[in-house]
Symmetry: C2
Subunit: 322 residues, 2 copies
Amino acid sequence: MEQRGELVSFRPDIKVVDCTIRDGGLVNNFEFEDDFVKNLYTANVASGVDYMEFGYKASKEIFDVKEFGKWKFCDEDDIRAVVGDNNTDMKIAVMADVGRTDYKKDILPKKDSVIDMIRIATYVNTIPAAIEMINYCADMGYETTINIMAISAAAEDELDIALNLLSKSKVNVIYLVDSYGSLFPEQIRRYADKYLKIGEKTGKLVGIHAHNNQQLAFANTIEACAIGVSYLDATMGGMGRGAGNCYMELLLGFLRNPKYNINPVLRFLQNRIVPLKKSGVVWGCDVQYMLTGQRNQHPRAAIEFTNQKREDYIDFYHSLFG
Amino acid sequence: MEQRGELVSFRPDIKVVDCTIRDGGLVNNFEFEDDFVKNLYTANVASGVDYMEFGYKASKEIFDVKEFGKWKFCDEDDIRAVVGDNNTDMKIAVMADVGRTDYKKDILPKKDSVIDMIRIATYVNTIPAAIEMINYCADMGYETTINIMAISAAAEDELDIALNLLSKSKVNVIYLVDSYGSLFPEQIRRYADKYLKIGEKTGKLVGIHAHNNQQLAFANTIEACAIGVSYLDATMGGMGRGAGNCYMELLLGFLRNPKYNINPVLRFLQNRIVPLKKSGVVWGCDVQYMLTGQRNQHPRAAIEFTNQKREDYIDFYHSLFG
């Protein structure tokens, strides 16, 4: 695999995607203070972040709006209350889960929306439904990404077929997603190479969304970047489900493009992330997440262990083999 | 650079070195409870760790024994109080800093000591003194390593000369040390390749000692390992100066050699590391360490920032440019 770009130069094709509200919302039930989201928007714009993901476009038929913060649903008016008409260089993204979005009802024509990109999250077994959503959203005028989750637990031949089908869809970016935080850099490079080869043939770009169970989210992100992956997901202070994600402050410290500025990120960490952590919102790598990552399992057991404030790692470890 | 070994197999040349007391001692002034060290020794033996580093052989002329815990000095009797005659497969190591060890007085002939390996720590500019120590210790019957610190801040031509001189010494293992936690995986691979090429010509093995300022200690360790580095340093819970080191629990979760067993490590974390952290001993990656890592600086300013419980990252960041 060939390296693209040198450490001291920069590749203009790289896009940084902030997922703090969307993946972080999985930690606090999307209950962010309005000021938090406004401060984050301002910080992202000032730091040169390319896309900010606001949350999910979840179905109000499936999920009760009273049980979640508003970023689970990302109503147009709620986004506009933060960004106005978003007269900035930063684009707005939302995520839509296959099977849990009323996309024909809830996704407006692009001309009526301040959203620029719909990120469609799927498992390998729901690719046909995902492609239907991709093409629908593309026809409505949106940029689209496909985020294929839990690939470390999928059969590789099925993944190959999925990638082949996606390469013929209208999707712009195919995301390599390490949902369980179980992949090592050498595996990430191999997957990234596979995605890039398929993407290059059909004009698709490739992105990466990493989890930090084994403290590899940043390493895996920059290793994928080094061989050509261009959409890089990160969150402030690594906020995200379970062990969290690639830290924005690490990523911007690595990238050499002078458009990126770490100062607004540091200010946001100081003013918003430190108090959020002090208020008792918990994320970040810890032994239980490392163990589910090593076992290539969904982090839900580790999240439960964390919520119960347990520290009996041995018992937890053996429960993962049950 | 060619990969050595596959992810699902294992290389028998790999040695895991526990540095919890030595590098962790820099966090708590080497004031470990006796039981902590005994529990650690037992855990390391049971988990298949190859070497346990007890601490420094520091000069009692330079350092006042009343101001430090005993593992700053590693008297033979103190080690024997923990290990007896060490009738195990695990070897015992200590570190000796060039210029801060009375090695001709304090290092006994191997036949009178339970220590197996002397690890000599040096900067590039004290290589001749380091070589004198290496050859002295080798002649006394010890295995030796040379740990060249702060290479990210050294001139590369001087490093090349240093490696060339060391390759002609009696040293067994040349260590790649990322003292500031500033090196990215692609740089680690390049350095490792350089060290390995020099080492191969003259029968020296190569080791890696990583710091976690940018959450890359584990990633850098396994990436170096993948291309042939065989001595891998780690600590329990990552305990070590500032941002700490490569986590033992991550490393043993990665290695496939069935001699390694993660259970005793988890038990040690549960019984000793969790309470140690709760008692107020602080280490681990945080914004201030990330910033000194990104700036390729010694972590001392970040350690001071941590000790003062400061959270004004912006002011700290700008102070690093002063």
